[in-house]
């Protein structure tokens, strides 16, 4: 009886091991890529994953993550790395690289653009980092429901902060990045001086003082899917959003949301490789492929995010309905790019202050 139980236990364990084996990819090469879900992940699956799978026979698994370094840190520190490639923002990419959570990526191995321009010149500045390569640029904008305001909607960032002229709740991402830049811009700081001012204690005070004026009227969101919902349900009269979410809601769900382009803050998303992954070489191949001219241009078929290579922009046909919605398509109003270096250095301090300000 003893032996029988032993045997059957062994069989069960054996079967479990066999069942797990293919998932770890002993036979077929496999990659796990963590990104942000929604329409954005779809665009990456269509433009990067599928062609790469067809070309190399790799099986790519796509997962969603929250974008905080803690999730990566937990994997690296426990030695149990589940993801190979992550899509993250530049401040996290810089910090993760410094903390030893991400692998170095050799910029010399990036392929030249479709028009022959070397990669170093083809990428727009700031897209090639020691541990990450930029793939898209998206924009943070204010959006509102046209059904609510008609032609008299908010037109500038100042309107977003004006609760007398535009009463009602407004949505903001629960994050100091973008929020503080907007507070300063709405308070009259010139686009070029935002980070200079925000780099001083007096500038930080000034930003929070401006935020105090709308604090009671803010609904804070955390996930990118929330702002279109908040607008649709009438919970807010206007909201900070990633511009792609609004454009796709308009084009695919027949919504009538308008974008206030004034004060748009452009932020890149980058691909990086988690340190300690067993598929490092394959992950490098994938990033080189995904960040080459054609896949970057193809991505704009599914979401209006701008490619990070100049050569890719030329490959997007005028017939693409998203082309006029790219962040740089000549929109009115002030426009700036996030300063990732600034956010890497001051992010923790400002986040601490922001969390304390919110909680009071």
């Amino acid at each position: 009886m003893f032996n029988k139980i032993h045997l059957s236990a062994l069989t069960v364990v054996g079967a479990a091991v066999i069942a797990i084996l293919p998932a770890t990819g002993a036979a077929q090469q496999a990659l796990t890529i963590a990104s942000w879900g929604g329409a954005y992940a779809t665009s990456q699956i269509e433009a990067y994953h599928k062609p790469f799978e067809a070309k190399t026979g790799t099986k790519i698994t796509s997962v969603d993550w929250g974008g905080t370094l803690g999730e990566i840190s937990a994997q690296v520190k426990s030695g149990n790395v589940k993801w190979d490639v992550v899509d993250l923002e530049a401040a996290e990419a810089l910090k993760g690289c410094e903390e030893g959570l991400l692998e170095k990526i050799d910029p010399a191995k990036l392929p030249a653009g479709a028009d022959g321009t070397p990669a170093a010149k083809d990428f727009i500045p700031g897209m090639i980092l020691p541990c990450a390569i930029g793939v898209i640029v998206y924009s943070n904008v204010v959006a509102y429901d046209k059904a609510k305001y008609g032609a008299n909607g908010p037109k500038t960032l100042e309107d977003f902060f004006n609760v007398t002229k535009f009463p009602g709740k407004r949505g903001l991402k629960k994050d100091p990045s973008v929020t503080l830049e907007w507070a300063l811009m709405a308070d009259g700081v010139a686009v070029g001086d935002v980070y200079k001012v925000l780099g001083t204690p007096a500038g930080v005070d000034r930003a929070f003082k401006k935020l105090d004026t709308i604090k009671n009227d803010v609904v804070w969101w955390t996930a990118g899917a929330q702002p279109p919902q908040l607008l649709a349900s009438g919970e807010v009269v206007m909201t900070h959003t990633w511009h792609g979410r609004v454009v796709t809601a308009n084009l695919t769900e027949k919504k009538d949301f308008a974008i206030v382009w004034d004060g748009q803050v452009q932020i890149p998303d980058l691909y990086a490789i988690i340190k300690g992954t067993k598929n490092s070489a394959l992950a490098q191949d994938f990033i080189r492929f995904a960040s080459s001219s054609q896949p970057l241009a193809d991505q704009a078929k599914w979401i209006p995010y701008a490619p990070t290579r100049k050569s890719s922009l030329a490959l997007i046909p005028a017939s693409n309905p998203y082309k006029v919605w790219l962040p740089n398509a000549g929109h009115p109003g002030r426009s700036m790019s996030t300063n990732s270096q600034f956010w890497m250095e001051s992010g923790d301090d400002l986040n601490k202050r922001f969390a304390a300000w919110l909680a009071k």
Partner: protein
């Protein structure tokens, strides 16, 4: 012959008992393993993380030793050998991609130290040999100020209480004294009080709603009671996230309740029911209600109806009967339900995050924020450890007041 068979019998018996014990252990082994892996190990890790923080002692080992050897007063800058040791440590740290972690660790204690540290780290590889004091001074004049050195000395031991100080809104300054955090960073005590307040409100709301329902369930015919019990348990079949989101749909500005009230002409403007404390308490009460009802129901069912009848027949009024005969017998159920709801409510995260405003977040939100965004796992662990301690203290107080027998979970 007889003696022989007794010994043989005894041996057989012992053997059988041993086998019985063996199988008993084998059968509980999976549970034991599960509890160890999923409960004791993580909890132990959290407690360890809240005091154990070897980043500085591991990566700046030579510097720490040189500082110990010098051991000068806190308002002075250490001599050249300490700078030389730091240069030695820094070269290795840069090579091993550790400089960023050290800089971030220092910055947690004092804003701005990250930049100062990284300036030196970026230059150190290019410098072959000393004197090192001028090298560091050229990298950043702050290196010849006592501030950064005081902070390095505070972090020199691999175990320290800095995370707990920070969790209680205090900090250790460069001169080794303990002071409150700056006004604009003092939040944790407020959040702990808020967490207790929300949990208490939810517990009271659950009690007020749950007691009559449990009474009803306990006094109905079995068939009807079972049907109603299924309705009580029904919410358990849906995930927490779904129930929370459903409340958002119900409570939002153009949601079910506001539309109804407006259609009835009772209100002109929609009421703010969500993204505030009301929304959080409402949803949490709904989600936690079964945990209150079930223990109360099981206790109430075991109270013999004859006690109440006896009290009435001896002339007690209905209210006296209820207060002096029925209610005291319910106490174990009330205690168990209230404790269960209160403790579960203390750790709530998703519901306040989705239905609350910025001033309705509870302590778990700050634990998650420190884990994910700031990578300050030590502070997150200390915050969690204090919550754990608070729960244990509350339980001990309850136990003292109500007595160990007055807790009945079913």
């Amino acid at each position: 012959m007889v003696a022989d068979s007794t010994t043989a019998l005894g041996q057989r018996l012992r053997k059988a008992e041993r086998r019985g014990h063996f199988w008993a252990y084998v059968l509980i082994a999976p549970l034991f393993l599960f509890v160890a892996l999923s409960f004791i190990v993580p909890l132990g890790t959290v407690l360890l993380n809240s005091v154990y923080d070897p980043i500085i002692s591991d990566n700046l080992a030579h510097t720490v030793r040189a500082l110990d050897a010098w051991n000068g007063p806190r308002d002075q800058v250490p001599p050249e050998p300490v700078f030389a040791a730091l240069a030695q440590d820094l070269k290795v740290a840069v090579q091993e991609q550790k400089a960023g972690s050290i800089a971030n660790r220092l910055n947690i204690e004092e804003s701005g130290l990250r930049t100062i540290f990284m300036r030196a780290a970026r230059r150190v590889a290019a410098q072959e040999e000393g004197p090192w004091t001028p090298f560091f001074e050229a990298a950043d004049p702050a290196w010849v100020q006592p501030l950064i050195w005081g902070n390095i000395r505070n972090l020199a031991a691999p175990t320290h209480s800095l995370f707990f100080l920070s969790a209680l809104d205090s900090r250790r300054l460069a001169d080794d004294s303990v002071a409150p955090q700056p006004e604009d960073q003092r939040i944790h005590i407020t959040i702990y009080l808020r967490t207790l307040g929300v949990a208490l409100t939810v517990t009271l709301a659950c009690l007020a709603l749950g007691f009559p329902l449990a009474y009803l369930l306990a006094h109905l015919r079995d068939k009807t009671a079972n049907l109603l019990l299924i309705l009580v348990l029904l919410p358990f079949w849906t995930s927490l996230l779904v129930r929370t989101t459903a409340w958002m749909v119900v409570l939002q500005k153009e949601g079910v309740i506001n539309s109804l009230l407006q259609a009835l002409g009772l209100i002109a403007e929609p009421l703010p029911l969500v993204f505030n404390r009301f929304g959080v308490v409402t949803a949490m009460t709904h989600i936690l209600l079964p945990f209150m009802i079930l223990p109360m129901y099981s206790v109430m069912r075991q109270i013999p109806a004859s006690y109440v009848r006896a009290a009435r027949s001896l002339g007690a009024s209905p209210s006296t009967t209820f207060l002096r005969v029925y209610l005291p017998q319910c106490v174990p159920g009330i205690g168990a339900g209230a404790l269960l709801v209160f403790i579960l409510a203390l750790g709530y995260y998703i519901t306040p995050a989705l239905l609350g405003g910025s001033t309705d977040q509870m302590i778990s939100y700050f634990v998650a924020d420190n884990m994910g965004r700031s990578l300050n796992w030590g502070l997150a662990s200390a915050l969690a450890a204090i919550l754990l301690a608070a729960v244990l203290v509350l339980y001990a107080i309850y136990d003292r007041i109500a007595g160990p027998g007055n807790l009945k979970l079913g």
